[in-house]
């Protein structure tokens, strides 16, 4: 599986580069979106509370669904949602299957080589999750050397943990899997977005608690294909607008109880 995935990521990278170069000749995304009348938004759809299917109605809901609706309204179009797995989501953007991704995509130099980003719309940092009866203390990533750490495959957190040598990093398809493994003692800790941790612990009913947060701040933005300056300006304006009119803050409080557009210290 590991070799398949590394093959896949190579193919995906090759695809991204080709499609990005081809796109340089296309019209600005803003014109495309306006004439189509819809903003095509991709998300995982299984990443609560950011974006997930409501178990009762089956409808897509969550923080990012609300943000996407606000942004589309400011752009004067309707949002059109696509849900797909994280493993294919960036490749799909590169291939032009949708216009933007709202899925807590961290702005990293590596991703900025392939895509342009909006200004950050949320700020977060990484946070550990440990078993409720955990006696050891893991105040920093370095203190996890020699221990098993579970996290999501292809996430920011994977790169962060792998940058520290000596941590036994176990990658999982999603948070339900590594939280179950953590609860059963097969791994020592798990790492995720601190915005997510509160929700996970509240809704999972597993004997887990929040651990240390790690200082460096993750900036979360909206990626789209390179070479669309008009779209970038319009998207950033829309983000400014929903900040100014208070609608972003309202959505943020609805899902998190604080304003996620402020840096973690101020939240």
């Amino acid at each position: 599986m590991a070799t398949t995935l590394s093959k896949l990521s190579k193919i995906a990278a090759a695809i991204l580069i080709t499609s990005v170069t081809l796109n340089a000749f296309a019209a600005d995304l803003l014109d495309t979106v306006k004439s189509r009348g819809t903003l095509k938004v991709a998300m995982e759809g299984n990443y609560p509370p950011f974006n997930f299917k409501d178990p009762k109605s089956g409808e897509l809901t969550g923080f990012e669904v609300d943000v996407a609706k606000l942004l589309a309204a400011k752009l004067g179009v309707k949002p059109e949602f696509t849900t797909t797995e994280w493993s294919g989501i960036l490749a799909g953007l590169g291939a032009g299957k949708y216009d933007v991704i709202l899925n807590q995509v961290g702005i990293t130099p590596e991703r900025q080589k392939a895509f342009d980003f909006s200004q950050p719309y949320t700020f977060s940092s990484a946070q550990l999750i440990v078993r409720k009866d955990e006696k050891r203390s893991f105040p920093t990533l370095e203190s996890l050397k020699g221990y098993k750490l579970g996290l999501g495959q292809g996430t920011n957190f994977e790169q962060k943990a792998k940058a520290v040598s000596g941590i036994d990093v176990k990658t999982y398809p999603g948070s339900p899997e590594y939280l179950a493994d953590l609860a059963s003692g097969r791994i020592d800790a798990a790492l995720n977005d601190r915005l997510l941790v509160g929700y996970l612990l509240k809704s999972s009913n597993l004997p887990l608690k929040a651990g240390a947060t790690f200082g460096d701040i993750d900036k979360i933005g909206i990626p789209f294909q390179k070479g669309n300056p008009k779209f970038q300006a319009a998207l950033n304006n829309a983000l400014d607008d929903i900040q100014k009119d208070g609608s972003f803050k309202q959505v943020s409080f609805k899902w998190f109880g604080f304003d996620v557009s402020k840096a973690p210290a101020a939240q």
């Binding site: 995906a12 499609s19 409501d54 178990p55 797995e85 294919g88 032009g96 339900p176």
Partner: protein
């Protein structure tokens, strides 16, 4: 009971997923069969020009992971201007893949028909194509049914891979429910049970088909 509540809550989502899984499986079976027959014939006819493209194709499709094929077709082809909807791309990838495996089952079965059958047909004045059409293939299909069924039943489970191209088939539907309920074990087991049920339906079809095709050989 809590478990029942969970499954009851998950049921509508899972059944929507089953719908997609069935659409993909059945459409790809037809696509795979349409492709598998000419491929098998191409590999046995005495012409190099027919043989080698088919041989290369079968080797390529069996020698690369289905997941990579799905990625190439859905995410790769748009860069050269060919863009498919997720449904088309998924059915195409599964059909192209299954076709290669089905052609091998069929080729094995054609080669498994005794050479005496060829000699006998030629002796009564049938030519190559007539022999293939009226004598060999009817017998070969009967031999090929069990191994072709293998491929078709694998196909039902392979549909889980199309979740990477935005299709909420059974597997992705299951993950969506797990993401909000955090109960992986019962839900993965439920998905497994559904896949098993679907496969059993096709096993029943296989048995019926084998009986029907076997009748000609029992009656005399």
């Amino acid at each position: 009971m809590e478990l029942l509540d969970l499954l009851q809550q998950a049921a509508p989502t899972l059944f929507r997923g089953v719908g997609y899984t069935l659409i993909f499986a059945v459409a790809s079976m037809l696509g795979g069969l349409l492709l598998g027959f000419p491929l098998a014939i191409a590999r046995i006819v005495p012409s190099r020009w027919a043989q080698w493209p088919a041989t290369v194709y079968v080797s390529l499709m069996r020698g690369t992971p289905l997941l990579v094929q799905i990625f190439v077709i859905y995410y790769g082809l748009p860069s050269i201007g060919i863009s498919f909807s997720p449904l088309t791309a998924g059915i195409l990838a599964l059909s192209l893949n299954a076709g290669a495996y089905l052609s091998e089952s069929l080729r094995g079965a054609i080669l498994g028909v005794h050479t005496g059958q060829w000699a006998a047909s030629y002796s009564i004045g049938l030519n190559y194509w007539q022999t293939l059409r009226y004598v060999i293939i009817p017998q070969a299909i009967r031999i090929a049914v069990p191994s072709m069924s293998n491929t078709l039943i694998s196909l039902i489970k392979d549909t889980s891979l199309v979740s990477v191209i935005t299709v909420t088939e059974l597997m992705l539907a299951t993950k969506e429910v797990i993401a909000v309920t955090f109960r992986p074990l019962p839900l993965y087991l439920a998905a497994a049970a559904i896949y098993w049920c679907l496969s059993m339906c096709f096993e029943r079809l296989q048995i019926r088909l084998e009986r029907k095709l076997g009748q000609a050989h029992k009656s005399n």
